[in-house]
Amino acid sequence: MAELTEIRFHGRGGQGAKTAGYILAVAAAEEGWNINAFPEYGAERRGAPIRSFVRISDAPIRVRSSVREPDIVVVLDDTLLETQNVTEGMDDSDVLIVNTEKTSDEIREQLANPNVDVFVVNATQVAMDTIGRPIPNTPMLGAMLKAVELVPLQALKNAVDKRLGEKLSKSAIESNYAALDRAYEEATS
C-alpha cells in the first residue's frame, strides 16, 4: 500500500457512510497503520447526501481537512451520481466502487471522469439477503477490498465486531460478516 491512501465515501444520511469509515479505520489501525476518519456534518437528516473521509498512512496524519484527491471513492447509493460529481479530484488510476444494479459500463456513462477504475456491486440486495435491512455500508467495504486489498478481510470483520459488537446481537454481527464475504465475491469491474 502507498505511503498515504485517501478514501472518500458518498452516501445518504442513514446508509452508514460514517460507520463504514470508522470500521475501515479501525481495521487499518489494527493492521498497524496510522488512521484518521471523520464524516462531514451538515444539517443531519435521513436521506441527505453526506460524505465521510478516511486517511490511512505509514506516517502520522496531521492534516484534517476533507479528502479532495481521493485514491478510492465508495458510493453507497447510485442515485447520488445524478447530483454529485463523485469522481471530483480522482485521477484515471484511482478506484470507484458503486452500489448499484447497473453494470460498470452503464455507471461510467454517468461519470464526469469515466476513465477511473470502476467496480460495481448490488450491495443493497446483499444487505437485504444477509442483514435483512437495506444498509449497504458493510457490504460496500467487502466490495472495496475486492477492488483494492487495503486490509485483510478478517481485519474488517474484527473491526465490525469491535465497532458494532456492543450495539448488535451476535447473529447480527454474523450477518454483517456474511454481507462482507458475499459483496467481496460479487463485486465486479
Binding site: G21, Y22, A25, V26, A29, G32, N34, I35, N36, A37, F38, P39, Y41, P60, I61, R62, V63, R64, S65, S66, R68
Partner: protein
Amino acid sequence: MAETKAAVKGNKVALEGNEAVAEAMRQINPDVVAAYPITPSTEIVQTFAQYVADGKVETNFVAVESEHSAMSACLAAAVAGGRVMNATSANGLALMWEILYVVSSLRQPVILTVVNRALSGNINIHCDHSDTMGSRDTGWVQLYAEDVQEAYDNLIQGVCIGETMDVRLPVMSCLDGFILSHSYELLQVQEDEDVQEFVGPYKPDNPMLDIDNPQTYGPLDLYDYYFEHKRSQMEAYPPAKQAIIDQGKRFGEAFGREYGLIEEFMTDDADFIVVAMGSTCGALRDVVEAQRDNGVKAGMLKIRAFRPFPAEEISDALSGASAVAVLDRASSFGAHAGPLYHEITSAQVTYSNIIPTNNYIYGLGGREILPEDLSSVFDDLHEVAEAGQPTEPVSFLGLRE
C-alpha cells in the same frame, strides 16, 4: 512529541475525540459531574452518563435543566469539597458565563472540557474559537489541543494543574468541534491505575462540608475588600503557568509525551513563523516541512496555553524571525484584529521584541482551512519581511469576497 508518539504506536487504540475525553473522565473518576449536553460535545456527556449508569465510575451525575444550572451545581459540589468535571460547547458555555467568574473567584479547580464551536447567530454547530475566546477573561486556565491524543492528555494534566495548591483555579480543556471531537484517531490510552496515580486523590482546600472548620463562600464583598481579593486572585496565574510546565514535564516522565506552554516547531533558525492554536497546528506542520523542502526557513509556533498567557515565552520564541503571522479562529468584533493577534503583538511590545506581524482570521463556523491557505500565508510573509511592517492589518483565509 511526534517522535515519542511513533514509538508507542504498537499499543494505540482508535477513538473519536469525544470518546477519548469520556475515557479520560472515566479514568479520573470525579466525585461529581453536572452537565447538560450540547452539540458537538454531546457524546462526552452521553458516554460518561452511561459509565455512571453501568457503575463503571463512582461519580454522582447531576442531570440539570440548563448549562447555567450545570455550572452552578459544579460550583456547589466543588466548594463542598468534591473533584468536579463538566463538558460543553458554544452557547452552552455562554449560558454558564456568570458562574464561570464565580468558580474562578472562589478558586475552585473545576475541570471543563470545551468542544469549541461557533457562537450564534446565525446558528452554526461547527468549529471556531469564538466561545472560549469570549471567556478568556473569566479567570479560567485554557489549554488547546492539537489532536485527540492531546485532548486526552490535557484533561488528565488539567486536573493536576487546577488542583496545585498555590493555583487552585478552574481549567478549560479545549478541543476543536467536529475536527477533533468527531475525528477517529489513534491514541495511547494509559492504564486506569496509572491515570489514577498521576492525578492522585483530591485534597479539597477549606471545603464547606468540613463542619469542624466552618467556611463562608461568596458573601457580599464591597469596596472595602473586593479589590484586595481580586488582587490576590491575580497572584494565582504565575503559579498556574509554572504548574502547566511542571505537569507537562511530569506527564512526559510518566507517559512519554511531554508538553509545555507553547511548542516551537522548526522555529530556531526560522525567518517566517506562523502562530496558531488547536487542530490547525497539525496541517501547519506539514506545510512548514513542505516550505523547508523548498528552501524557505519556515517555522510554526503552537500556543497550547492561552490562559495564563505565556507572553514572555512567545516573545522570545518569535524574536529571531523577520516576519510573523498570527492565525485567529475568532473575530473580536470592533477591535482592529483578532484576539490572539492582540495578545501576541502586545507581548512583542512589552518585551521589546517587535517583529512585523500580519493577522489572519480563518475558519469561522467550521470553514475548512486547507494546506494551500496556510502556504499562502508563508508567501505573504516574504513581503512582510521586505516591507518591515505588517502588509495587511487583517486578512481572511478561505473566505469568498
